[in-house]
Every structure is written in structure tokens, then in C-alpha cells.
Amino acid sequence: MEDEQSFSDISGGRLSLQRRYYTQSCREFCLNCPRLSLRSLTAVTCTVWLVAYGLFALCENSMILSSAIFITLIGLLGYLHFVKIDQETLLIIDSLGIQMTSSYASGKESTTFIEMGKVKDIVINEAIYMKVIYYLCILLKDPLEPQEISQVVPVFQSAKPRLDCLIEVYRSCQEVLANQKATSTRS
């Protein structure tokens, strides 16, 4: 079953959340960030080239102009490949674990998997990040000390959705985790 809803991130940009309920114990959430807009791309390119032209007018060295073109191209490629994240996915499977995938604008994908034995809980935490924001995070426990939280893993770090989107994901994940706890205590 698939569901799509539109939310906004902490700076007002539009996000779209796609929820896929494969079964009772396996769910996936995809957050699509807004693509690189033509307006911001032309703005950055124009400023870099105007600065380069100003430097050229000062010192009459034409290498500055060609290096500015080069820098713009290389910078754009590097930004698309290393910085700009287009989609973030959270896949939660009851007995197996939680997988987080980030797809970059150049097509690169980076995946992190956390097995269910290490997951203590999924919570919405508040912290200061220039202002107070809510973010969803996975609390990990050390298998030797099940009562203590050993690590905090934030999810949806580059999309940064607002609280309404987080509450949807939180409730869904808590249903899966409650299901998992019920089956693990029964077995």
C-alpha cells in the first residue's frame, strides 16, 4: 500500500513523504527533497563569474577567466556528487533491522544498516541547531548493558522535516517496534 503526502522542512522548503506499507512488519518511508533549482544555480554561477571578471579587470591575466569556468564546473559536479541529497529513505523490518539510504543528485547512494538487536527505541528528540528543531533519532543499546543508551543516530539529517512529518513516521515505527517486542516476548 502506497501513500504520498507533502510536508515542509525547517526552512520552509517543500518535502514529499512517500509511505509504503509492505506488510505489518515491514515499512518504508521516502523523503524527497526539492531538486537543485535553476535560479540558485544561475545566481551562484553569475556571482563567481562576475568576481572573476572583476579580478581580471584588475590584473589583466586571462587565466583567471578560464580558471573561473573550470572551478564552476568542478564545483557543480562535486556539489551534486557529495553534498546534494535528493532522497532519504528509512526501511524498517520487524525482525531484521533498520536501513537508511541517502541518494545524491549524481545517482550515488549511501546506505547504513542497523540490526534490530542493537535498536533500543526510535524517538523524536529536540536539540539546538541554530534554533530548536525536532528530529527523529534511533537510540542504540549495547548488548552487554540493555538498560543504557550507547549511541544516538539521527535520521533524515539533510531533509530535516518538521514535527508533523516526524509524528507520522514516529507512530508508524512505534507500531512496528511494539509488534516486534510482542513477538520477541512471546517466542
Binding site: L139, I149, P154, R171, Q174
Partner: protein
């Protein structure tokens, strides 16, 4: 023993007056040192003064220190803020070692640090019946 209250007292009046007189004297002395030419001061016999350069330099130093202090305070605060993936946003050493007091009937429960998963359940699952655990 002096009582700890902000009310006016004779000793405080004396402190205030001494402070007023000395600050006025210091200010007049600073103005005299800055404006009166060196030859006049030498003719009076007062020769051992600091350089007049400092009459301008010290206030400028003070103003720049105040301005940088604003920026520095902001920067120190930002540097001390825990990152989003730090354990300090969830708990700390005092909360881990807290004692669990036993629940007495019909008494106000003892103060304790509520774990974050219980807080979340209270906030984000309003449809469920609330049952606090001790």
C-alpha cells in the same frame, strides 16, 4: 553580622560617596593629563606621566574588547552546543545514577528525570489511555 538585604545603610552611603568622589577625581585627572601640554606639567614639577598616546589608545582598546566580547560569547556558546548525535541531548551522568523511589499511595510522586521514550509516548500518542509507571 550584616543582614543580607538591599536596604540603604549608613555604611553603604559612605561607600557610595567615596566611590563618587574618587571616580570624579580620576576623571578630572585623566582630562588634565590628556589635554594640558607637557611643558606646563613639567613647569609645575610633575614629570613622571605615561605617554599621552595612551590617553587615546586605552579607551579604544576598551571599546574593541567590548565589541569582540559580544562575538566571542556567541562563538563560545555555539562551540559548546552538543551536536545532534551526541548522548548529551538525551541523558547525562546524573540522570543515569538516579534512585528509583518507591511509589506511595496518594502522594505526589518523587521528582525524577523521565526517560525520553516515555515523554514521547505521552506527547505523540494522545489516543492511548495514559498510565504512568514508577
Amino acid at each position: 553580622m550584616v543582614e543580607n538585604s538591599p536596604s540603604p545603610l549608613p555604611e553603604r552611603a559612605i561607600y557610595g560617596f567615596v566611590l563618587f568622589l574618587s571616580s570624579q577625581f580620576g576623571f578630572i585627572l585623566y582630562l588634565v593629563w590628556a589635554f594640558v601640554p607637557e611643558s606646563w606639567l613639567h613647569s609645575l614639577g610633575l614629570t613622571y606621566w605615561p605617554q599621552k598616546y595612551w590617553a587615546v589608545a586605552l579607551p579604544v582598546y576598551l571599546l574593541i574588547t567590548v565589541a569582540i566580547g559580544y562575538v566571542l560569547l556567541f562563538g563560545v556558546n555555539m562551540a559548546n552546543t552538543s551536536p545532534l548525535d551526541s548522548l548529551h541531548t538525551i541523558t547525562d551522568s546524573y540522570a543515569k545514577k538516579q534512585q528509583q523511589k518507591k511509589h506511595q499511595k496518594e502522594a505526589i510522586p518523587a521528582l525524577r528525570d523521565v526517560p525520553i521514550n516515555e515523554v514521547n509516548k505521552m506527547f505523540f500518542f494522545p489516543a492511548k489511555a495514559q498510565h504512568t509507571q514508577h
